[in-house]
């Protein structure tokens, strides 16, 4: 009886295996380039099954044991556009995929320069684009690291400056509007950009508009606009696990060593994307820790990023995004001395800041049938809170006394936009915004204000090949009165006019003129803080808004991914707000409308994709498939015209380098490797607080080597290869050499 039962069970299992085997199939095929030549080392993944393969030297692949059903096959390879295809399996099947090299993709499409989608060359203002692949290839740890290699952009510590529009004031009063998916992310109190809170791993494209953007984006866009476009949830269900570990090198000089411990940093992250019914979902969790190369600047940080999108009707899209970051960071403000440049005052080693940053936005966009009308509505809230513990002095017994500083700010806004295309040669855009700021801080007081704006823009293509753009924006913002403050209303109307003349399909001339303005931020008006021995900042509620006049002319040639661009620009600023140290005591600072300034210069950018020139026949095991060169040179003169009128000599604005040269290269080699070498040189700027401190040019080289195989990626990076010691802001050595290894896997 027992033997009979075993026989029946065995037969059943065998039959089940046979039945199972009968329902699995094999998919084989070839992945080729656009000319039909097999591509070795290309990756093919069956989404949601964990199955995949890499192609052999002939570009062929085989994937077995797939049950019947419909599958999404995704094919990718460095240097080529990723493609996907749904396949229904009812038998063994052969499939051929043809990949288009990125060199042949059409020129970039941007959405920021005119608040509508347009080809890069159709923009009348200079615009740079950084794609996700460029960011991934270099494994940047934060968004501000990526910005340091964008032509025309300078970072003074965390303060961004486009074409030298901005100096340094600990992030306060940014003249560059930074947005995530078209939504401003600046804080309500200082107006600064919280770069550490931005989801570097989720960036699809970075767009940098390098001219005054007040006519479209208002006060904060006086010196330009950065729009960080995050990626959409994937179609299939995928996971990504990534981690990074790195070591800071020893300082270049023994005198600067301040710790016997090896200084390390790490990052771990996990992300998941999937579709549930009509919703596409993306969730990312990340944790970072850094001992830091400089004393009292270590940090630990946690971050959660989520995005959900769904189609609404035939043409509508609803998008919800939330980004939350928490950080515990040392707050070393400046070096102890040049002899101990990586140490801080021994009394200040425990100075720390704890911060929470929350960005939430909801967007709905849609269009009419035929696409003649497009509309969008965006609502957002940025909530930032921080508490700082700073050394304040000593009591009569020699014990340290700390001061606690804090701020809670919320900035909430809603804007709507309508684009109307009555004829093919005419595009009219209009919209309105409303926003509210509320602050409760011991260094700014309890402040609140509200404002609104209306804008219109008309793009006329009647005189083809000339495209003209005219626009106008009116802004008003009221800072509410309080006990000691009378209240103030700021307002301005900013016009712009631009033109693009297409000489051929690839070559265009452009010019634009516009005005800009920036109202003072709450912190510039009301900050009252004393940092022992370093700063003594005092309020100035009588500040006026800044004004700017901006003009630019340029030439561009764009063919595929080959690009040459040249621009000359001139910006005049009136009543520029800058922190002014009191000459009587160097540490006493107040924001003042003290300067009229003229910033002018020229910028050229070139990008060569040399895939055709260097190809050695990948199908025959060649070593080099593609090489990209990005070259950017910026020359500016930032002159304080207020002083030069009085003294008859040129007086430069602080923190503005006169020359900036960047060479950004990447080379694909063998089947799975890519090597990126990025160099940045900037001439030494004038410093702000301490005239007599030494400054040097910036000479930075970063080298990143990436290996990808199937779903696995390993990156090895050396940042600041030369261990070059330079400063971006007073008495702070910029990051020294560090080594890091990054690992990620998708499944």
């Amino acid at each position: 009886m027992k033997n009979k039962s075993l026989l029946i069970i065995s037969l059943f299992l065998v039959l089940a295996l046979i039945a199972f085997a009968e329902t699995t199939y094999r998919v084989s095929g070839k992945i080729t380039d656009e000319k039909g030549k097999g591509l070795p080392g290309a990756n093919i993944v069956v989404v949601g099954t964990g199955k995949g393969a890499s192609t052999n030297l002939s570009g062929e692949f085989t994937i077995s044991d797939l049950p019947s059903g419909t599958y999404q096959f995704t094919v990718s390879m460095i240097g080529y556009e990723t493609t996907s295809q749904d396949v229904t399996l009812v038998a063994d099947q052969a499939i051929t995929f043809s990949l288009l090299p990125k060199a042949y993709q059409s020129q970039p499409v941007v959405v920021t320069a005119s608040r509508t989608r347009q080809r890069l060359q159709d923009s009348s203002v200079s615009t740079s684009v950084v794609e996700a692949e460029q960011i991934a290839e270099r494994n940047f740890l934060s968004a501000d690291e990526a910005m340091r290699f964008v032509g025309g952009v300078s970072m003074n510590d965390s303060q961004i400056s486009i074409r030298n529009s901005t100096g340094f004031a600990y992030g306060t009063g940014s003249r560059v509007l930074v947005m995530v998916d078209g939504v401003p992310i600046s804080s309500g109190d200082t107006g600064e950009i919280k770069w550490d809170a931005l989801p570097i791993g989720q960036i699809e494209q970075l767009e940098v508009v390098k001219s005054a953007g007040s006519a479209l984006y208002g006060s904060e866009a006086m010196g330009g606009v950065v729009n960080i476009i995050t990626r959409k949830p994937d179609e299939g269900a995928t996971y990504k696990i990534s981690s990074e570990f790195g070591v800071w090198d020893k300082p270049a000089y023994e005198q600067w060593e301040w710790s016997d411990k090896t200084r390390t940093f790490h990052r771990v992250g996990i992300e998941h994307t999937r579709h549930i019914k009509d919703w596409g979902l993306l969730l990312s969790l990340e944790q970072k820790r850094d001992d830091s190369y400089v004393q009292a600047s270590n940090f630990s940080r946690g971050q959660v990023f989520g995005k959900a999108t769904r189609k609404v009707g035939e043409s509508g899209t609803l998008s919800l995004m939330a980004n939350v970051a928490y950080e515990d960071r040392g707050t070393g403000v400046e070096w102890e001395s040049q002899r101990k440049a990586l140490s801080v005052d021994p009394n200040k080693t425990d100075d720390r800041t704890w911060s929470t940053k929350v960005q939430v936005n909801a967007q709905y966009s849609g269009s009419s049938k035929g696409g003649r009308q497009l509309w969008s509505v965006k609502a957002h809230t940025n909530y930032y809170s921080w508490i700082s513990r700073l050394y304040a002095g000593q009591d009569s017994e020699g014990n340290n006394i700390d001061d606690m500083h804090n701020s809670i700010s919320a900035k909430t806004g809603i804007d709507g936009q309508l684009t109307f295309v009555p004829r093919d040669d005419h595009r009219f855009t209009t919209g309105a915004e409303f926003n509210v700021i509320s602050i409760d801080a011991n260094i700014f007081g309890k402040r609140d204000g509200f404002g609104g704006a209306i804008f219109v823009q008309d793009e006329i293509n009647t005189f083809n090949p000339l495209v003209a753009t005219i626009g106008l924006r009116g802004d008003v913002f009221h800072v509410n009165a309080s006990d000691e403050y009378h209240g103030e209303t700021y307002g301005n109307i900013n016009p712009k006019i631009g033109a693009v003349y297409h000489i051929t399909d690839d070559i265009a001339l452009r010019s634009n003129f516009g005005t800009g303005y920036r109202m003072p931020t709450m912190s510039e008006l009301f900050t009252e803080i004393k940092v022992a021995g370093i700063l003594d900042v005092n309020p100035n509620p009588n500040l006026r808004a800044e004004q700017a006049y901006s003009a630019e002319g340029g030439f561009s040639w764009i063919s595929g991914s080959q690009l040459f661009d040249f621009a000359v620009f001139s910006n005049w600023y009136k009543d520029m707000i800058e922190p002014q140290p009191d000459e009587r005591i160097g540490t006493y600072v107040q924001f003042k409308n003290i300067q009229d300034a003229h910033i002018y210069g020229a910028e050229t950018s070139m990008r060569w994709n040399m895939g055709e020139l260097v190809e050695m026949g990948g199908g025959e095991g060649g070593i080099l498939h593609r090489a990209d060169f990005n070259f950017s040179y910026l020359f500016t003169k930032a002159i304080n015209t207020t002083d030069s009128e009085k003294q008859g000599e040129t007086v430069y604005l602080p923190y503005r380098p006169e020359h900036t040269l960047m060479l950004i290269t990447s080379v694909n080699y063998w089947k799975h490797g890519s090597l990126a070498i990025d160099t940045r040189w900037k001439s030494k700027p004038l410093l702000g607080l301490y005239d007599n401190d030494p400054t040097v040019d910036q000479r930075v080289i970063d080298v990143t080597n990436r290996f990808t195989y199937d779903r696995w990626t390993l990156q090895l990076k050396v940042s600041n290869l030369l261990n070059w010691n330079y400063i971006e802001i007073d008495r702070n050595i910029a990051p020294i050499r560090r080594f890091s290894a990054h690992f990620s896997v998708n499944f």
Partner: protein, 183 residues
């Protein structure tokens, strides 16, 4: 052939960049310093809240003290100041150069009040001592800082009682107004 040309160009550019650095590391620790002590004579004023030892290239011949003259300074720590010491030791990191005016200034709250109607603004009354030529104390002393020059060590005699009389103080004292001289 074309591949070699491009790769060679790339190698030359990176090589030039590397050579341009000439095995240098940019900003380096300044190697020189001025060390010394200040010996105080008389009782410290009760109102003293801050004290600085200050190094400048020259004593201004005009009636101004511009921040740009300032080349180095040492602030006496609060805990030392509150003890009202007889002697203070200091070390100031300095760039190479010749410095002809080293002095100590003792400030009270009135000295840092810049209201126009302040009856006791910052002035010569806050000068508590100067480094004088050891061989001829009626003249100001000179300090040379530079590579290869042994560390300089100076002594400053400060006085509260009687009040210190500066060497050739140029009349009344005035400060540069920020609105006129701001950067």
């Amino acid at each position: 052939m074309k591949r070699k040309i491009w790769l060679s160009t790339f190698a030359i550019i990176v090589g030039m960049f590397l050579l341009g650095n000439n095995c240098d590391y940019g900003i380096k620790p300044d190697a020189q310093s001025l060390v010394g002590e200040v010996i105080f004579n008389g009782e410290w004023p009760e109102s003293a809240t801050m004290a600085f030892i200050v190094v400048t290239h020259e004593k201004p011949s005009e009636l101004i003290l511009d921040q740009n003259l300032l080349k180095g300074y040492y602030q006496i720590p609060d805990y030392d100041l509150l003890a009202r010491p007889d002697t203070i030791h200091f070390e100031i990191e300095m760039n190479s150069g010749i410095y002809n005016w080293v002095f100590i200034a003792v400030l009270d709250d009135a000295a840092v009040d810049f209201a126009p109607d302040n009856p006791n603004p910052l002035g010569w009354r806050n000068l508590a001592g100067e480094y004088r030529d050891p061989e001829n104390p009626s003249r100001l002393g000179s300090v040379e800082i530079g590579e290869g020059i042994p560390q300089q060590h100076i002594r400053i005699m400060a006085s509260f009682d009687p009040p210190y009389q500066g060497v050739g103080n140029p009349g009344s004292f005035r400060l540069v107004d920020t609105q006129e001289g701001g950067r």
